[in-house]
Symmetry: C2
Subunit: 365 residues, 2 copies
């Protein structure tokens, strides 16, 4: 080996050593700051980058607020726990927190529905008013207490779309027999309407539509739906999303883990969730209209449910919710208060905010 | 003096001394935590407890997030600076921050309008999407940079009401000659419609209406309006608030003060503002409908603007804004982008969210 080569190697070794040293120093500095480490599974695959992304944003904001002291590591669905195993993981203490939606756990307690979205229910803004000012959060905290869990509203999609259909839906008869992917309560409503709801994980939906195993998909909205490719396998895209007029997600935290936090870290969770709640909705509003334009320009036919179909959906929703209220006194009690609040918010918006918006819709070109 | 009395006095003195010592200890502990102290005037009197209160909430959340390290003291309008002297106070560095609205300073720069509310403009949700995802915040930061100030969206009233009138307004002719309290751009629009707008501080409005010096008041919404007593001096209450479909307030911060903060304190301002933004709106939504019911039950007649009046208002708004765009290239450039964004958000909501809300308004009793 020539001298120059030996020297070269030595320099390389020195350089690598120095780099490693500085990397490890940087890591030490970062690590030294961390005072609390949590793991937080979400119920979403990474492809849904504004749903899983809401959880990621939360962890980033909490880190920024605590000067790196509170490190929460997010995990996509399946990485640590199954998509809908999040609440159980928190309850048993196998994870400290999770980013999910109450309505995925109706089998555990149907009242968890009110944490997320109720058919023919409130807008994101109205839901937040109910939660923060109308006693909703207090009632939901009681429901989650059964699972040793605290919930914080933390993300919203806005109204979801009516869904993707291979054939036009001109009457309730056209719904009968349809194999439609519709999760949770939406599935029960479609069953009441005579459809055959299917439970299929998000990333399996496109192939199921492609090979004809499914006739229709109700999923989220233009941005997420386009990412999953539904515009390539269904011609008709229906709105408005009366079955989910604003779907709210929650940070769920193990109660013992929450109470062990210093109060400023508890405050960080609360403020960061409020921020994520608005920011995810802003992102959806920004992204959805762009995606909708691409989808329609690509040849998909955008259609509005006719009034008869929406009225039938509302009757089915009332049936399904009515049965749930018969089976659970807790559900019945929350449902009554929730309905009173929705009706008062409807009155207010019909007088002012929605009335102003309707004028603009009529008169802007 | 009996011995028992002397003893009693001594015990009292000891008790008082001990109490004072413990008070002073508690104060020392609190004071020791404070690392940054700011003063923050607001543009609102304390009677408007959800407007001034939004500022107060911000200071409380920032304190909680920083474990008491960042103490911001709020001052109501007039306590430290005049209501509309806030931006100048920040620019000159006499205070570090303020809680106010851009539209109070149109004389300094008309483009500040877009920070707050534009006639026939966006809902709170759409405004937030424009700010955070549509390039709005970036443009507004450029405008505020002229004043060495950074703005953060931090509170919203929702759509404001059309206002209080002594006589019915059945046509545009009924507006002509009206002495109406209408601030800022709303005043200019009423002037264009033939009214005679008046600038009167909030707490002087009730006496002015009572003694007949004013014919009408456009102010905020049922909750604030009721607190100022307008329902006692005007019979007709008009909606919808097309001239202010969502009025957004801002935390304004001196740029040097902001940049001197540790990054976690900057994050605290941002997250706390996002939280206050949603929480003030939730409070208004909760309080406004209750106040509206009281107002209507008390004999006030709630009326909707007829279509012709709203169309005339829109033409006047277009006139006024058109002139502003002629006078300022900056205003013209922002206005164009703002309008494109509003129109795309209108399209989206007309397809989905507002369409769902309208079904509910039609079909819920």
């Amino acid at each position: 080996m020539k001298f120059s080569k030996v020297l070269g190697c030595a320099i390389t070794v020195l350089f690598v050593a120095a780099t490693l040293a500085s990397l490890s120093l940087a890591q030490d500095e970062t690590t030294a700051k961390v005072k609390v480490r949590w793991r937080m599974p979400t119920s979403f695959p990474t492809v849904l980058d504004n749903l899983h992304g809401g959880g990621v944003m939360l962890t980033e904001r909490v880190s920024a607020l605590t000067d790196g002291g509170f490190k929460i590591t997010p995990y996509a669905a399946g990485e640590l726990l199954p998509a809908f195993g999040v609440l159980e993981g928190i309850q048993t203490g196998s994870v400290e927190a999770g980013y999910s939606g109450g309505f995925y756990y109706l089998g555990k307690n149907p009242s968890l529905l009110f944490d997320t979205v109720v058919p023919f229910g409130m807008t994101p803004r109205q839901h937040y008013a109910w939660m923060m000012e109308g006693g909703g959060l207090e009632m939901m905290r009681e429901v989650y207490a059964e699972f040793n869990t605290i919930n914080i509203p933390c993300g919203n999609t806005g109204a979801q779309m009516g869904g993707w259909f291979r054939k036009p839906i001109d009457s309730v008869d056209d719904i009968k027999g349809l194999r439609i992917r519709a999760a949770g309560l939406t599935g029960a409503i479609y069953a009441d309407l005579g459809a055959v709801p299917q439970q299929i994980p998000p990333t399996d939906l496109y192939p199921a539509m492609e090979r004809g195993a499914l006739d229709a998909v109700e999923f989220v909205g233009p941005y997420d739906d386009e990412r999953l490719g539904f515009h390539k396998v269904a011609k008709y895209y229906y709105s408005p999303g009366v079955l989910e007029a604003g779907t709210s997600f929650s940070l769920m935290v193990n109660k013992d883990s929450y109470e062990a936090l210093p109060s400023s870290y508890q405050a960080a969770l609360q403020s960061a969730c409020a921020e994520v709640n608005s920011r995810t909705l802003a992102r959806y509003d920004d992204l959805n209209v762009k995606a909708l334009r691409r989808i329609v320009n690509g040849g998909v036919e955008l259609r509005a449910w006719n009034e008869d179909i929406m009225i039938a959906m509302k009757e089915s929703a009332d049936n399904v919710m009515g049965k749930m209220a018969e089976d659970s006194a807790q559900f019945a009690a929350i449902y009554k208060k929730w309905k009173d609040y929705r009706d008062s918010q409807l009155l207010w918006t019909s007088v002012n905010d929605t009335a102003a918006e309707n004028f603009l819709i009529r008169n802007t070109k």
